[in-house]
């Protein structure tokens, strides 16, 4: 059976957030790359334990927010001062102070879309399926009260037997191989 079906990874369960953090530190120090931790809520200190670099989402959102500001200015300037200037209350055609509220609102709107769409893109979501969902125990527990470490077969260090042994040595239980056709 196991020889004919492709192994896509392995998943191991841990007892609580503290043991998950310790396991993550050991996984990081062992030099795994295509691996992840899973918890029903964000565990404090996990980024350091996993050695995940800071996300670049903030910079991306800031740039897109600035595009929103500029876009709003250009829209108001072009429609009111270039395309169809109308004298209203004797104000200048390019009444910059009056453009501020719309510039602010469109910056916020752009930033909000950028952060949500950016978050999904950085997380590679939406995604139809993932090898970890082939484990019934994982599906039942990972967003409820289970804490897991998963390693994908694409990792250079992945070795069916050695990885399972390593996960057991750092305290993992319910270790399951993830089959391609689960």
């Amino acid at each position: 059976m196991a020889q004919t079906e492709k192994i896509e990874g392995v998943v191991a369960q841990f007892e609580n957030p503290a043991t998950l953090i310790k396991a993550a530190q050991k996984m990081r120090d062992e030099g795994f790359r295509d691996w992840d931790t899973h918890s029903p809520f964000p565990v404090h200190g996990m980024d350091d334990a996993m050695g995940t670099p800071r996300t670049k989402l903030g910079w991306m959102v800031a740039m897109i927010a600035f595009c929103g500001t500029t876009g709003a200015y250009l829209l108001q300037w072009w429609t009111s001062a270039v395309d169809y200037p109308v004298v209203i209350s004797g104000k200048p055609f390019n009444s910059v102070p009056a453009w501020v509220p719309v510039m602010f609102e469109l910056s916020v709107l752009a930033a909000a879309f950028a952060s949500v769409i950016g978050m999904l893109a950085f997380n590679m979501l939406p995604r139809y399926n993932h090898p970890v969902f082939n484990s019934e125990n994982f599906v039942a527990k990972h967003m409820d009260d289970g804490f897991f470490v998963s390693v994908e077969a694409t990792d250079a260090k992945f070795d069916q037997e050695k990885t399972v042994e390593f996960l057991a040595s750092i305290g993992g239980s319910n270790i399951e191989l993830l089959l391609a056709d689960g």
């Binding site: 503290a18 029903p40 109308v86 409820d144």
Partner: protein, 460 residues
């Protein structure tokens, strides 16, 4: 005992909760079959649907006959429709305050109430958006407010506060919706994995987007949540400021004041918290969520109601003083007329509901009594509706020329559309309670003591 547990505050969530009981308790509400839905929910739903049907019928007649069916007349051209608009937008502000500002201030008690406060925001903004739409007279061309290239070759006037308002409220609705949905993704994933039947599996699977709670996903997720909180904070302050510009930028005495933006924002948060309070008590009673929405949460909200109510009271005093101090006869008259003129009954209703009654929350016993806080929350909502009525109607009814003065009287349809908007609001809210996680599951787990990795230190 580790130093951490000794210094930490008393638990935010009561009852003996494990991670699993939190998922169970909150998800089971949405998983119940028809027979499992509380009777009180059905009673409220039937009442709400009747009010909603009344809204539909009234609006149909309004479109058929025109806005003459309302009491709006010269000189009061902005009647109840605009009062209701400002009222509903204001209600929405508490949701964003709870989800964004209290998040940035690390007020962890917000986790129990943020989800339904955010839902309330969205539904309140829907109700608010309805009113300008049906007030424009020709609602079938309401989309002319949007700047798009058209065959007439013209553009909206970007110097107009009414246009700023459209952008502010539109942005507010969109950002609130994104914030609400983003917050719900992990909870939808929890419910997806618990789903038994095919319809739930597919629909929750689609909306959970394949989220799998991974460390790398949580990192980006938390960053997004922080960014949304960070941008929603100035946004919520801007929205009611822009709403107040609708008045402050005009030259009408009683409206043309610089105090309006902060005064409107304080009032909005005040009224919104009162509405969150009303709804929290309803949700807690219908679904027995006392472990999650504890007396401590309600007491904290009462403190905010007391604070913002006093700020509103200060603003009333301040604008009255400044109108006298300005030496401008029209300004002085506008305020003295509010307190002593034809609408004195509305002014003093406003003062007693907003400034006097909430002072009862100085007493701890009153802050912790469910009955008292429920009654006060309703009183505050009435008072804040009257605040907008006083600002809009008294000002327009008696402006510069006594020959142009008139007394505004609402008609049957003014009342029926206001009642109907509550029907729309409550119908949406009850559907939300029944079908979506009313409390943020993942966030509640995050504030349980056992979620902290240091909780386990003594054992190892």
């Amino acid at each position: 005992m580790s130093a951490h547990t000794e210094t930490s505050e008393p638990p935010l969530i009561t009852g003996t909760q494990s991670f699993h009981t939190v998922s169970q308790r909150i998800s089971e509400v949405t998983e119940a079959r028809i027979q499992g839905t509380p009777k009180l929910w059905w009673v409220l739903m039937v009442i709400s649907l009747l009010a909603l049907a009344n809204l539909g019928a009234s609006i149909a007649y309004l479109f058929w006959e025109g806005i003459g069916i309302w009491g709006v007349q010269n000189p009061v051209g902005w009647g109840w429709a605009i009062v209701n608009f400002v009222f509903w937008v204001g209600i929405g502000h508490a949701g964003t305050l709870i989800s964004a500002i209290l998040f940035l201030l690390r007020q962890r008690w917000r986790t129990s109430i943020n989800r339904f406060a955010e839902a309330m925001t969205i539904f309140a903004v829907i109700c608010a958006g309805l009113f300008p739409g049906i007030h424009v007279g020709r609602p079938w061309v309401a989309w002319w407010m949007v700047p798009y290239p058209n065959q007439m070759g013209i553009w909206p006037n970007f110097r107009s506060p009414l246009l700023w308002d459209m952008f502010a409220v539109g942005t507010y609705f969109t950002v609130s919706l994104l914030f609400w949905y983003t917050g719900m993704i992990p909870d939808l994933a929890t419910m997806r994995d618990r789903a038994k039947n095919k319809i739930r599996k597919i629909s929750l699977g689609v909306f959970a987007l394949g989220f799998r709670g991974s460390g790398k996903q949580w990192q980006n997720y938390e960053k997004t949540y922080l960014i949304l909180a960070g941008i929603s904070t100035p946004l919520v302050l801007s929205v009611h400021s822009v709403v107040s510009f609708d008045f402050a930028v005009s030259l009408v005495p009683g409206w043309h004041t610089t105090i309006f933006p902060p005064y409107f924002v304080a009032g909005a948060i005040f009224s919104g918290f009162a509405m969150v309070m009303t709804l929290a008590i309803v949700a807690r009673t219908v679904y027995k969520m006392e472990d999650f929405i504890t007396l401590k949460h309600l007491e904290n909200m009462n403190k905010i109601i007391l604070l913002t109510g006093s700020m509103v009271g200060y603003a009333y005093g301040c604008e009255f003083f400044i109108s006298w101090y300005s030496g401008n006869d029209y300004e002085r008259f506008a305020f003295i007329n509010r307190a002593t003129g034809d609408y004195a009954w509305a002014y003093w209703t406003m003062i007693s509901c907003n400034v006097i009654f909430p002072q009862i929350f100085w007493f701890r016993k009153m802050r912790r009594s469910i009955l008292v806080m429920f009654v006060i929350s309703i009183i505050v909502n009435i008072g804040m509706w009257f605040e907008r009525f006083v600002i809009i109607v008294t000002t327009l009814a008696n402006d510069f020329m006594p020959s142009a003065w008139d007394y505004f009287t609402p008609t049957f349809f003014d009342i029926s559309i206001l009642v109907g908007s509550f029907g729309l609001f409550l119908t949406l809210f009850l559907l939300f309670l029944r079908f979506l996680p009313m409390v943020a599951i993942a966030e509640i787990k995050g504030v349980l003591p056992q979620a902290d990795p240091h909780f386990y230190e003594e054992k190892h």
